[in-house]
């Protein structure tokens, strides 16, 4: 199942929710996606395309918005990238589809303050219990260039 076929399948199922894919170094393909189409895409991956390995979820703050990259692997890299506005940083959880996503979602929630609807356990994963300086990887939090 090479990458173009996967993008084609995504386009058929989700229409224009699928953005313009761009190949990125070291053998990966980034596919921008509407947030609403995320769960559908993952279900499509699992049911038809036999893509089950989620390497991780990269959360980043590029100054204007929060971007989540869902990095999949099926012989070569494939990443669904979703962007969330600052003030409405929510995303659906995938733990019911991919149990392994739980740790990655908790880490993004902790580091970037993204709320994952349906993610049961919200205890801090890596940060100390008494951490009160807000999500550390958010750039707007330390716009004045903190520690």
């Amino acid at each position: 199942m090479d990458r173009d076929a996967v993008v084609q399948a995504l386009r058929e199922a989700l229409g224009d929710a699928v953005g313009e894919p761009r190949a990125l170094p070291v053998d990966d393909l980034f596919v921008p996606l509407e947030l609403s189409a995320l769960r559908e895409a993952v279900q499509l991956f699992q049911n038809e395309l036999d893509i089950w390995h989620l390497s991780t979820i990269t959360g980043l703050d590029d100054g204007e918005q929060i971007v989540l990259h869902y990095h999949f692997w099926h012989g070569s890299g494939l990443t669904l990238s979703v962007s969330l506005p600052y003030d409405q940083a929510e995303a659906p959880t995938l733990t019911d589809l991919i149990a392994g996503a739980g740790f990655y979602e908790r880490e993004v929630a902790e580091m970037l303050g993204v709320a994952f609807a349906g993610l049961g356990e919200m205890a801090p994963l890596l940060l100390p219990d008494d951490w009160d300086e807000g999500p550390p990887l958010r750039h707007d939090a330390d716009a004045e260039g903190g520690a």
Binding site: P25, D28, W52, H53, T56, L60, H69, L125, L126, P136
Partner: protein, 360 residues
Amino acid sequence: MDRMTIPIGPQHPLLKEPMSFNVTVEGERVLEATMRLGYVHRGIEKLAERRTYIQVVHLVERICGICSHVHTTTFCDAVESLLGLEVPRRAQYIRALLCELERVHSHLLWLGVLAKNVGFDTVFMYSWRDREIVLDIMEGLSGGRVSHAVNMIGGVRIDLDDEHVRGILERFDTLERQVDRALVLVEHERTLRARTQGVGVLTPEDVRRYCVVGPTARASGVDVDMRRDAPRPPYDELDVNVILHDAGDVWARTLVRTQETRESLRLCRNLLANLPEGPTAARARRRVPAGEAVARSEAPRGEVFYYVRSDGSDTPARLKVRTPTLPTLATLPGQLDGVAFADVPVVLAGVDLCIACADR
């Protein structure tokens, strides 16, 4: 026997690094286990945003004490692809050589840890004695037993002359003989089998649901190995035979890891035999053009994942590291419930925890 909650960690003879488990036990039967990470969280990803790429190579090398080289190799791989830099083949061979030596080092260390947890001090002493041989080889090569500082963006800092190669091959003879003996021991030792067979079983479905990687996945019959699936040079010229097992218990993982040690030694001999001539590094610019890169490679515990985002300056805008221990850790509560309390150390050892990797 009433219900009791037994704390294991953050400091406990069983754990080599701080991490805490709360195991609820009824008699000798484990009912439920909860985990808490973060005791060794240093915020590597945040630190990387305040260091130049040259400094981040050394920062990333200190994520894990056992598989430091594979981290720097993967990070350099990502940055070199952003720079569009062609790394000389000799440098790629030396990088792969150290990656495989590190796998031997990690698996021998792990065999000792498992034996210690099972109360088999002799095998712990023997496997850590044999591990010294591979540590001496790496120290001779790179000047450091564990953190080798061999990688830099564009290639490697060290070079191998014939005298080095001869010294390594000599030591390989004793190392291979010792690993073969360890293999016989792991397959036939009655008490070790009695303590590890049927313990901490992971089904292939669990491996797929939790996206488990590395020897733990291979021991459950899931055929994943980044050296063959995503062959970065020089692995495309090497035929890596991936060792699988289907029992999915701690004994199967012991077999897979020990056989993989033997396989890594064969690969090392292969790498040394046809080590290409040529320079060992290409000159790299300090500023990396804007862009994003994803790099994956096979660490001793499985697929390690790097994402680098650059904004044109000489400091990375974002670095994401996902180490192989994280998904395996997620399966632990599942593996632990219903297990005899005496088997908790075996299950914990079975997944080859590298907590510094998981916490970053």
